[in-house]
């Protein structure tokens, strides 16, 4: 996501007035838009909201602001929950008098060793998630044959958030423990629902080799390809899929970042299966350098067989 242009700047005081419902409709709509489309405004709004809630909880808002806070801000259940959390959180912070080393709510810490936490977190991640988000997101680029798996709409964000939180809360040692557990061949780390087949395409050379073929069953939604690069010279790439018979562009994707990989840099693509027919295809990869100029970075050929 991106920042905002200068003409789109919003003052901190405006953000507070926005949170208290004190802006005009036009101004509020402008902040609404920027709160979604601008990274900078979105983060500043979040910071301003936390500070406003803390000020209310600590009783440091002036009378007018406190009144607006009660009549406007607290009119939503989500925001009331934020205030509830802030009451507990601020009490915990203030009770310590700003001494971070001894943060505990009742003066005693739960007697758990760090190692126990790490192992528990690692086990929980393996058992509950089956597969960590990191592993899942890595594997998704290795898929060649799309398989429809339903994801419940209402659970999608919360599940992803839960997994990310687990990953964040577990420190680097936990991650290493997880890797060691996986390396030992833990059965829980592999999921039968994720095909571990990859179609890796190599750049074309003068020597003619067999053409890579991919079988695409009916009902498949996407075909995932991993293009190996000879070198990673560009910040961004553009992929252009062509029908070599007519030279017509059938699909294109811009602004793709290369991945470092273990040894060889690669570019991962996800092509909608609906654009693919049973025939040969050529795939051109163009790199964009720092000055925005584009040049050919590689070309690939493959054959699709629809089933």
């Amino acid at each position: 996501m991106k920042g905002l242009a200068l003409h789109e700047s919003v003052h901190d005081s405006q953000l507070v007035r926005y949170l208290l419902g004190l802006l005009s409709d036009d101004e509020a709509e402008r902040v609404d838009q920027l709160s979604i489309s601008s990274d900078e405004v979105a983060s500043r709004l979040r910071i301003a909201e936390d500070d406003l809630v803390d000020a209310y909880v600590r009783g440091t808002l002036d009378e007018e602001a406190a009144g607006r806070f009660v009549s406007f801000y607290l009119s939503s259940e989500r925001r009331r929950q934020k205030v509830k959390f802030a009451r507990t959180f601020v009490a915990a912070i203030d009770q310590r008098g700003g001494s971070p080393k001894s943060l505990s709510l009742r003066g005693t810490t739960i007697p758990r060793s760090r190692t126990a936490w790490r192992l528990a977190a690692a086990a929980a991640m393996l058992l509950v998630a089956g597969l960590s988000l990191r592993e899942y997101l890595r594997l998704r680029t290795d898929l060649t044959v799309a398989q429809s798996v339903s994801i419940g709409l209402s659970n999608r964000a919360s599940e992803l958030e839960r997994q990310l939180n687990d990953a964040h809360l577990a420190d680097a040692e936990t991650a290493r423990e997880l890797e060691r557990t996986r390396a030992r061949g833990s059965a829980g780390a592999s999921s039968p629902s994720l095909p571990a087949i990859a179609l890796v395409l190599l750049p074309q050379t003068r020597a003619m080799g067999p053409i890579a073929t991919i079988a695409v069953p009916d009902g498949a939604h996407f075909v995932e390809l991993e293009l190996q690069l000879e070198s990673s010279d560009f910040a961004r790439y553009q992929a252009v899929l062509k029908d070599p018979g007519t030279n017509r562009i059938v699909w294109r994707r811009d602004k793709i970042a290369a991945r470092a990989g273990d040894r060889i840099p690669t570019v991962a693509l996800s092509i909608p299966a609906t654009v693919l027919k049973s025939q040969h295809y050529s795939l051109e990869l163009n790199g964009t350098n720092a000055s925005g100029e584009s040049e050919m970075a590689g070309s690939y050929v493959f054959q699709v067989v629809r089933r």
Binding site: M1, K2, L19, D32, Q33, S35, I36, S37, A42, L45, I47, D50, D54, S71, F72, L74, S75, R78, R79, R80, Q81, K82, K84, F85, R87, F89, V90, A92, I93, D94, R96, G97, G98, S99, P100, S104, L105, I110, W117, A121, L133, L137, R140, S148, S150, I151, L153, S154, A157, L160, E161, N165, L169, R236, W251, R253, A257, R259, I271, P272
Partner: protein, 207 residues
């Protein structure tokens, strides 16, 4: 109560994992955020719908991203850039539709909203239940705080402590010491606080 909205979402065809992956890639716009951008956008949308007084902000955020995912699945590409701008356009349509839907239906029951006419729950006299709930929150927060890395814990305690009028200076000093901008420090602190909040909410559900 907006039963029809809930019903409408239940009738939506399911979203495939592959459409979801495509949506993640599109939102990342060339960077691999490992799902962070999706979560950030979902959070922004929920906050937007909530601020506009919509009663089901989570469902509307899901609906917005679901529509974008389906467009990507169908067309393969969305020309509007950056993706966040397109998200706002779709979100606005989703909100207007939700408002229209609300006007067409009769509320099943009267649900008074806290605010001008009533005190918020947090300000009411603490009953036994509320006391128990607060104790539970304290237990959960304690548990979640222990899960943070020590440097994360230090950061939020220092960042959010009562500055007594010196807060901006304190944070400026802190940012200088860490070698980052004030905004970057704020984002970092907000993220850790968000993680704690989510952890406490999950902990409360489990108990």
């Amino acid at each position: 109560m907006h039963v029809l909205i809930q019903e409408a979402f239940r009738q939506e065809p399911s979203f495939t994992k592959f459409a979801f992956n495509r949506l993640l890639e599109w939102l990342d716009d060339g960077e691999d955020s490992r799902g962070e951008t999706y979560l950030d956008m979902h959070r922004r949308l929920v906050t937007y719908f909530d601020r506009r007084g919509r009663p089901s902000p989570n469902e509307l955020a899901d609906e917005t991203l679901n529509r974008i995912g389906k467009t990507l699945e169908r067309d393969g590409i969305i020309e509007t850039t950056p993706p966040a701008r397109y998200c706002y356009v779709v979100a606005r349509f989703v909100m207007l539709e939700d408002i229209r839907r609300e006007r067409r239906q009769v509320p099943l029951e009267f649900e008074p909203r806290a605010g001008a006419s009533g005190m918020p729950a947090a300000a009411r006299t603490e009953t036994g239940d509320l006391f128990a709930a607060r104790e539970q929150r304290l237990d959960c927060l304690e548990c979640c705080l222990q899960k943070l890395a020590p440097d994360q814990r230090d950061l939020i305690v220092e960042y959010y402590r009562d500055g007594r009028g010196q807060r901006i200076e304190q944070r400026r000093d802190m940012a200088k010491r860490l070698g980052i901008t004030m905004n970057a420090l704020g984002i970092r602190a907000c993220r850790i606080r968000g993680m704690l909040e989510a952890c406490v909410a999950a902990c409360k559900k489990e108990r």
